[in-house]
Symmetry: C2
């Protein structure tokens, strides 16, 4: 089974604290790293948790609040010092030009690689990227400015061939790939052996959804239904419900309700307000509604 | 005696490591914090070392390489979240507009305070700021791009009045301030008591010089002669002398030679290349030439 995991680099919020870094995480799929958000210090967090810069595939920015983007100049710069040659694709709302264009104007001629910007659609779900193993799309969240969540969907994996059947029917090596993709096998004497006799279904495709920053928004449920892992912001405890509403953030209970209504397998919460030194209350409130909840933490890895 | 100390927030160089943060330091004079350089993560380092954001007076940027400026957007943003109201003066080469103007265009209407930029003169020494206790000037260094060092000079402090003389001549309280500033005292019967009988000299003014980034440049010595504390970059050990020359950086021995030739009282070295996990060799090479040398380190405080 392919590696598919989420590495938390930062799970704090706008105000820096000594406990949490601003938002950033890596989706590690088969040794390709997809970065979501890039708060100040993200490149240092990558170093700290030994995430290899040369595995960085592309960057997805949920929205243009400073705590989600101020790590970009440093990271982009370091990639150039390291001699990256492949284009770097950044998916973000089009106003990110305010940050990237001046940077490129200033650093441009020294850059070892090209940056390509792809604008996010803040209105509806849109496919951003796909290759043979993954499909990445964005969908709208509900925040003070245009904000998108991201959905990482593994593609259907090849069927598992049953070794005993290879031996029994003396299937030549050259046929294996097509059988894994669903083809039947025709024996030298013309007998057709149905694929479902030769193979077992592949691993069920796994799905990861990232929802931060967002107010409580049941309208996102169709996008994230049945995900294996849901990261949902939980900036506040229930005692700050009014504050959460005003600032378009969520409480832990609200995050858990979304996870439950979406039938997620597991919930990870983060984007903690700087007012919380202890996160027990946040976790407790979420677990009461959705038991399979974990707290995000810098350096924590969540496998799917 | 006024507090006058230098707090190291970061003393690494361009490539981030898990050991050193990019350059930034605070000159703490009488509870006013003057920041020199602002690499990525500086605001987090301030938090870590409990430097109070509301004491930040102004910012001095030596040059516009990323490792010296990428912490600015985050810091400027946080100051606004905290509700700073006083203008913030930033002294930097005029091309810093590339970074600050887009930031202000984007964040401007949400900012709680005004930023004022003052261009540095890369050609000659220039007074940047003075108040009753300090004079801050910039002077040219020798690097790949326009780069300035900074000199913090305490002003002459008031003379110390001799308590016994107050009693002896029954000097009224209202006369004390002028006597500390050098006035004589005239007794009720008209006798003039010379100031030098009533007072002792004030503390000798202290001076701090910051020289980073720079190649070995004896031409800076006139600017930093007799300083109490010299911070001089020492990116490399002597084995990398050629590399130091090519990149317009200094070796530890060269930093020590400058300190010696300038008759500095103490030398602090930093801006270590990321290739050094151990700094013993760097320190040893400097101490061999200038014994009163110390290594900079994150969180270290050097009093003058």
């Amino acid at each position: 089974m392919n590696k598919f995991q989420v590495i938390i680099l930062g799970c704090g919020s706008a105000m820096p604290t000594t406990m949490h870094h601003p938002p950033s995480q890596l989706v590690d799929l088969n040794e390709k790293l997809f970065m979501i958000d890039c708060g100040e210090g993200t490149q240092l967090q990558m170093k700290k948790f030994k995430a290899r810069m040369n595995k960085l595939h592309s960057i997805f920015i949920s929205h243009l609040h400073g705590d989600h983007i101020f790590g970009l100049p440093g990271l982009l710069s370091t990639l150039s010092i390291l001699g990256r040659s492949g284009d770097l694709h950044i998916y973000a709302h089009k106003e990110i030009n305010f940050l990237i264009n001046p940077f490129l104007t200033y650093m441009g001629k020294y850059m070892s690689y090209k940056i390509k910007l792809f604008p996010l659609n803040p209105e509806r779900q849109e496919l951003l990227f796909e290759n043979k193993s993954i499909r990445i799309s964005s969908f709208p969240l509900k925040h003070r400015i245009a904000t998108n969540g991201f959905l990482f969907e593994e593609k259907e994996s090849p069927r598992h061939i049953i070794r005993e059947m290879i031996d029994f029917y003396q299937i030549p090596f050259i046929r294996i790939a097509e059988i894994k993709e669903g083809a039947d096998f025709v024996t030298p004497n013309g007998t057709v052996i149905r694929n479902n006799i030769l193979t077992l279904p592949g691993n069920p495709p796994r799905r990861y959804a990232y929802c931060s920053d967002t107010a409580y928004a049941p309208e996102i449920i169709p996008y994230i239904r049945n995900v294996d892992l849901l990261y949902h912001e939980a900036s506040f405890a229930e005692s700050e419900l009014a504050r959460a509403g005003e600032t378009y953030h969520s409480t832990a209970r609200q995050a858990a309700e979304i996870a439950g209504a979406a039938n997620a397998k597991q919930l990870v919460i983060g984007h903690y307000s700087s007012r919380y030194n202890e996160l027990e209350v946040i976790l407790k409130e979420a677990v009461a509604v959705f038991p399979n909840t974990e707290l995000a933490g810098e350096g924590k890895v969540f496998g799917l």
